[in-house]
Symmetry: C2
Subunit: 272 residues, 2 copies
């Protein structure tokens, strides 16, 4: 089963477009996990078990593991996901981008070591920095297009032939790089109008949409702008708002995460 088939199946079977981002930040961990040697793994496992019913994808952000030297815990988290939720796509958020020989190494990192279904990559170095990932025919790449941060405009909004650069990236990926149906794009929820413009360019290609939740993107505007005719086509990511949900009285962190994940899934589904 390819990445795209798996994602399509997950959208349907789980009735969800919500991607749960795993950004483990020790400072924000509950007291019961503080100081434990496996705290990152235990935290992520609890979040995964609590939110899987509401998720179409999980997305570990590798930077949080790399900063702490916790790659071994990331390996265990990915193995846990593959064993216990084999139907849910695993997105490795790494935003890699390098020449071909180096990209081959990063592809091994993503697809062999962590066994991810899909990895985020940067388009800045062009086709031969992306093609090595596509040699893995059942896996995919999600290419940065229009990002949700303020500085995203610095390059992505530069005008090329009367259109902003990010639209050229969308066209390049849709028309040239996606020959085998393995590509998606990152487009932030903070810019619904641009999301709609990208959707008009790329047909049914999947989008990873960060920026809902802690980053403040509007759910209705996001879903309306980015969905396909089938009411899918998006992995709408929320990380911090789910991972560090303020607990209600008597609620533990996993229960709070579950509540917010279900609320977010349902809020998204209202506008599909």
């Amino acid at each position: 089963m390819t990445f795209i088939e798996k994602l399509n199946a997950a959208w349907t079977s789980r009735n969800s477009l919500l991607c749960v981002g795993l950004d483990p930040d020790l400072k924000k961990f509950p007291a019961e996990l503080q100081g434990k040697p496996d705290a990152i793994f235990e935290f992520c496992r609890a979040i995964i078990d609590a939110t899987a019913e509401a998720a179409c994808a999980f997305k570990p952000q590798i930077a949080y593991f790399a900063a702490l030297g916790a790659e071994e815990q990331l390996e265990r988290i990915c193995a846990y996901l593959r064993s216990n939720y084999p139907d849910i796509p695993l997105v490795l958020d790494a935003k890699r981008g390098d020449i071909g020989a180096t990209a081959e190494q990063y592809a091994r990192e993503a697809f062999e070591r962590y066994d991810a279904d899909v990895v985020t990559v940067s388009p800045y170095m062009g086709w031969d920095s992306v093609s090595p990932y596509l040699e893995w025919k059942d896996r995919g790449v999600i290419v940065l297009c229009r990002t949700s941060n303020a500085g995203g405009s610095d390059l992505q909004f530069l005008e090329v032939d009367g259109k902003p650069l990010y639209q050229h990236v969308a066209r390049l990926v849709a028309e040239k790089w996606n020959t085998n149906g393995q590509c998606g794009l990152v487009v932030g929820a903070t810019f619904p109008q641009e999301l709609a413009q990208v959707r008009a360019i790329i047909g049914d290609m999947p989008l990873l949409v960060p920026g809902v939740g802690a980053q403040g993107g509007d759910v209705q505007a996001t879903v309306t702008a980015g969905k396909t005719a089938a009411g899918t086509g998006m992995m709408i990511n929320s990380s911090r708002a789910i991972l560090y949900a303020t607990p209600q009285a008597g609620e533990d962190f996993a229960a709070a995460a579950r509540r917010v994940a279900i609320e977010t899934r349902d809020a998204i589904n209202r506008f599909r």
Copy 2:
């Protein structure tokens, strides 16, 4: 001492513009190291000791370590460099690029965990994806500008206001991001004319120049195009041509690496 001060001192004291890239590829290792548990560390340590007299910088490429789950060996290599060659800048080649909160994690990876002097980053996500690194006032970033691979043209050559995108990146970094003298740029040796155009834009900012050696860039054209008035301003990188130098009769891999490093340093110095 800041990164730039350290690099300036290394250019002078070592009389070299050569950056030795550390891309450890197990398949190419000498027979004596095959199968050893610490093979990567031992290989890199031998290369470092053999080539340090000819190097102004060392540049481990993190992808080669990440593919093999060998971060612990990279930590030891970086610690070895800092202890034994504290005057030689350590460039972590990682080409990271992500939103601010995530960039903070990558900065910790580069500057705390590996204690690098400088890290390569991608400009695609703009200012707030780069600024967290610059909070480390004695460290630096080297921003991708014009890369040495064929696909580099896909985005970097798109025309913005009559100029290719990479020149906008050069101007953006030189005029806006380099307020504290912490930035450099990556410009490939495969395009000497473009190297000269970038040098004209950025003044004396340092360049990391890959593409000499295995990638085929011409040394004379590269040095002539990229040097500053002082005859420095560049870390000219060679990785594979040094690491996997074909041994002459009776020569081991480290001696061969030393010979090629010295030849490359001297070839560069002839045109400074």
